[in-house]
Amino acid sequence: MPKRTDIKSILIIGSGPIVIGQACEFDYSGTQACQVLREEGYRIILINSNPATIMTDPELADATYIEPITPEMVEEIIKKERPDVILPTMGGQTALNIAVALAERGVLAKYGVELIGAKLEAIKKAEDRELFKEAMDRIGLHSARGGFVNTLDEAVKMTEEVGFPIIIRPSFTLGGTGGGTAYNIEEFREKVLHGLTSSPIQQVLIEESVIGWKEFELEVMRDLKDNVVIICSIENFDPMGVHTGDSITVAPAQTLTDKEYQAMRDAAKKIIREIGVETGGSNIQFAVNPSDGRMIVIEMNPRVSRSSALASKATGFPIAKIAAKLAVGYTLDEIPNDITKLTPASFEPTIDYCVVKIPRWDFEKFKGVDDTLGVQMKSVGEAMAIGRTFKESFQKALRSLEQGRFGLGADGKDELDVRAMNDVERKEWRRRVLDRLKIPKPGNIFYLRYAFQLGCSIEELFKVTKIDPWFLHNIWQIVELEEELYSYRV
């Protein structure tokens, strides 16, 4: 299908200020979208309140509005500029929320503006967890037990069916703001109340805890001819219970069997079709129970996301750019791959290296902050590294973080010097290190090294952390090599 000629102008909504959970990845996607759609000859109208972005450079759009991203302001822009369509999938949750608000207020109908990239129905089906659950049931995929509540009473009633620990996720919030995990009824009440206030529609999802399960993401794209490609698989080093944005992630997935991976791919294709994202990229999250392999669907983002930026950089496949082209009618087989020029975008990327992303936190700036990692994202940035093996990329990523570390310890900045400890100290520290590793916190990664130095086994550490033994084995290998290297000390 060639590009649409019935549209002349496109309004792109940016993501506004950088906040935790929504950072400059949307400058990257918005910039790509502006560039590619302008090359296609469309008039580009842009709104973003963030002046620090490349996308708000006057050269990148025909009309750039550095104005607050509110439904009222966007309506004024629509009234003045009369765009034919709105592309709301490049500006994160902010842009999607505005698109929904404009549709619901009748603004889109009033001015005859169409949503491209994701239709209202698809956005709602993906974002409304109740509709999403029903959709998953229809196509025979599992999702976590639980349901939606609007009051504390309803929530308390649901605890019987779900059983502790319970995850509380407020609806329609950024980066899971106001969410949490409750291990007892008292904590549960407190977190439900906090969740209800955080949610713009005073709704929270009460869900069975899948803490400790393995977590995966697939980046998927679909076009109007119903071609679906999987761009990249991403595996979370930290198990379920830690927000993806706070988790070390690895691409491609390292610990799935081919059978499991194929099942996940099939599920992803079913999901994007059922939700009805006709054109563009989506990110789908899965959890796999390490003890029996049961796979459930966690959620789907019907838009370009933080993970899409990572997947783009990890594979070289420009997801935002291709998504923008799909939104105006091209199909995957019509778009050439920039890198090879020979293959079309319908070729799935293959990668012969390993990519590791590690988040960066800035807790020391916030006195009294709780630095435990959970379902609400707390990191402010991230570094990515590429290498031939997990071990190489992992250590490169650690030194990329610029927190004065030059790899997995052994850099003069270690909190513990295990080599200098006597037996009594070692015994004591072994207990303390294992204790510390029970709770996900920044810096735990260095404690894995101490744990191995103190003689802990992979099995023992898996029990405590639920980090997949494959990853633990790799870390153990790094620690072992360090020991060998140490024997050459002069």
Binding site: I18, D338, G381, A385
Partner: protein, 608 residues
């Protein structure tokens, strides 16, 4: 934490195979040096001697099945190098690395603009960065992208492979600056202001001497090496003082101290002071107005991009303060001084490229607080407000263009008439137990901009963009500390009443307002009785909160009020200057629509 003496012993028994394996496992030279008790330099030498050097592979989407055209590379320790060096003149721009508080997207913006500018000059551009969220790490942005850590080892490896004409270190924030000197020592040409010039601006003693030589006022400062010494130094400087450690470990914050006890307290709980790690003490100019200037110099001429006035008074980190361009309350004399000092400093520091200067004005005297001869956080804001692409101009100047050649000699920033307001955005909603008051430590994660022909409308838009839409009617809760019970506060209260708001306050502020003839209702503090101020916030009975911090004694109250405001999305203002500004915004908002206009339209107006 002192660093032990670096040894230069050579671990000669290490075999090339083991060295290679260590590199394949991702060990850095720094780690190997630490493990073997030697220096990074020795390890590097050993590696090169054994031929253990990285090769660059290509990210090609197809595992080398098809030929790749886009040069996007990463290093690894294998045999075949896929990154071919061209014969073109090339410049490497070092990126900013992972985002963090204080170093965000602004620096990526500068890097990308640097790339665009050098591209226009026909130079082959290369980017080194490791942040996957950014535009600078899009392989489309540059001629060549190296997705690599920004450490000395990794950057030097690339420089040795590419043999660039030069490297730009002044666009990526602190990250590349940290390795600038070492790069230079290793024979890499640093483009723009020399590391020596950068160092001069950062070294207190040398910079202080320079300011005195140039006859530019600066706040008194001193250095303390012990607890007792600190109090003495502070007394000599006279209170209030700003205290901060010279060596920041674990983010020990700076603090403003009003007396010797506070200094002693700070020293005890916050710092391990020692002769090696002294504490820096500066005179704090209370209630001063602050200004930021971004400029470009080619070593001969200086172009001022813009002068910004902070909305919050001194004592609040410039990254956390709202600011307005052009400045709205400054005398012609002071503005001329600011410009004069900026030009003098740029010349004295031999700046080639960007420079940011922070000024304070108190009682009609302009002081220089800080100079950074590099890209600052405000460069994109100034560029958007004025249409002058500062980072691009700087990049061109760094490769030898003069401002005159670029047609910028005589550029007058005063021709920009519309008003741009920048407001910071904070992550307090993610951190429930963190106090929401602003201070000298930066905590914002991002920023928004409001533009209008009118100051009030620009303020209202900036607040709206930051998710803090100002109310146009309802009730305002006011609570100010003793030193804020002034005519200025009364003015704000009267204006609010004039705009149709009713006021409530707790006892102290209420009696102050009532005695001055401003009608104001009473509300209980959190512990005094019910319903209290938090109840009112929760019930939606308060639409705006103006609360200046009262110190330790009422911390509990302020904390509870701050949290309830956040949860109920009630605008919460913690400084009087911000409150006065908000009043202007509210007034404009009450008039009706704030209006919209595209950046292109604003820029067209400047030029015509």
């Amino acid at each position: 934490m002192k660093q032990s003496k670096i040894s230069h012993r050579i671990p000669s028994k290490v075999s090339p195979e083991l060295l290679r394996q260590a590199k394949e496992f991702g060990f850095s030279d720094r780690q190997l040096a630490h493990i073997w008790g030697t220096s990074e330099k020795i390890v590097r030498g050993m590696r090169k001697q054994h031929g253990v050097v990285p090769v660059y592979k290509t990210v090609d989407t197809c595992a080398a099945e098809f030929e790749a055209h886009t040069p996007y590379h990463y290093s690894t320790y294998e045999r075949e190098n896929e990154s071919k060096r061209s014969e073109r003149k090339k410049v490497i721009i070092l990126g900013g690395g992972p985002n963090r508080i204080g170093q965000g997207i602004e620096f990526d913006y500068c890097c990308v603009h640097g790339v665009y500018a050098l591209d226009e000059e026909g130079i082959e551009t290369m980017m080194i960065n490791c942040n996957p969220e950014t535009v600078s790490t899009d392989y489309d942005t540059t001629d060549k992208l190296y997705f690599e850590p920004l450490t000395l080892e990794d950057v030097l490896n690339i420089c040795e492979h590419e043999q660039p004409f030069g490297v730009i270190v002044s666009f990526g924030g602190q990250t590349p600056l940290k390795i600038a000197k070492a790069l230079e020592e290793n024979g890499v040409r640093i483009l723009g202001t020399s590391p020596e010039g950068i160092d001069l601006a950062e070294d207190r003693e040398r910079f202080g001497a320079l300011l005195r030589k140039l006859n530019i006022p600066h706040p008194k400062y001193g250095t303390a090496y012990s607890v007792n010494n600190a109090v003495l130094v502070a007394e000599q400087i006279s209170f209030p003082v700003l205290v901060r450690p010279s060596y920041v470990l674990g983010g020990r914050a700076m603090e403003i101290c009003y007396n010797g006890d506070a200094v002693r307290e700070y020293m005890k709980k916050a710092v391990d002071v020692s002769p090696d790690y002294p504490v820096l003490i500066d005179r704090f100019l209370e209630d001063a107005f602050e200004y930021d200037v971004d400029c470009v110099s080619d070593g001969k001429d200086v172009v001022i991009g813009g002068v910004m006035e902070h909305i919050e008074e001194a004592g609040i980190h410039s990254g956390d303060s709202a600011c307005v361009l052009p400045p709205f309350m400054i005398s012609q004399k002071n503005l001329d001084e600011i410009i004069g000092y900026t030009v003098k400093l740029a010349k004295a520091l031999k700046v080639v490229g960007l420079m940011n200067v922070q000024f304070a004005m108190k009682d009609g005297v302009v002081y220089v607080l800080e100079v950074n001869p590099r890209a600052s956080r405000t460069v994109p804001f100034v560029s958007k407000a004025t249409g002058l692409p500062l980072a691009k101009i700087a990049a061109k100047v760094m490769v030898g263009k003069t401002l005159e050649e670029l047609g910028l000699k005589g550029y007058d920033f005063r021709k920009v008439k519309h008003i741009s307001v920048k407001e910071a955005v904070f992550p307090f909603n993610k951190f429930p137990r963190v106090p929401v008051f602003l201070g000298p430590e930066m905590r914002s994660t991002g920023e928004v901009m409001g533009i209008s022909e009118n100051f009030g409308a620009a303020v209202a838009k900036a607040q709206m963009g930051a998710g803090n839409t100002l109310p146009v009617e309802g009730r305002v809760f006011i609570s100010v500390n003793e030193s804020d019970k002034t005519e200025f506060t009364l003015g704000i209260a009267r204006d609010l009443v004039g705009l149709g708001f009713s006021l409530v306050a707790t006892e102290g502020t209420q009696s102050f307002l009532n005695q001055s003839g401003v009608e104001c209702g009473h509300v209980f503090k959190v512990n005094e009785g019910r319903p209290n101020v938090v109840d009112m916030v929760k019930n939606g009975e308060i639409q705006l909160i103006i609360n200046t911090p009262l110190g330790e004694n009422s911390r509990y109250d302020e904390f509870a009020i701050g949290r309830s405001a956040l949860e109920n999305k009630v605008s919460f203002i913690t400084t009087l200057s911000a409150a006065a500004t908000a009043v202007k915004g509210i007034a404009k908002q009450k008039e009706g629509t704030l209006g919209i206009r595209s950046v292109q339209e604003y820029l067209k107006n400047i030029d015509t």
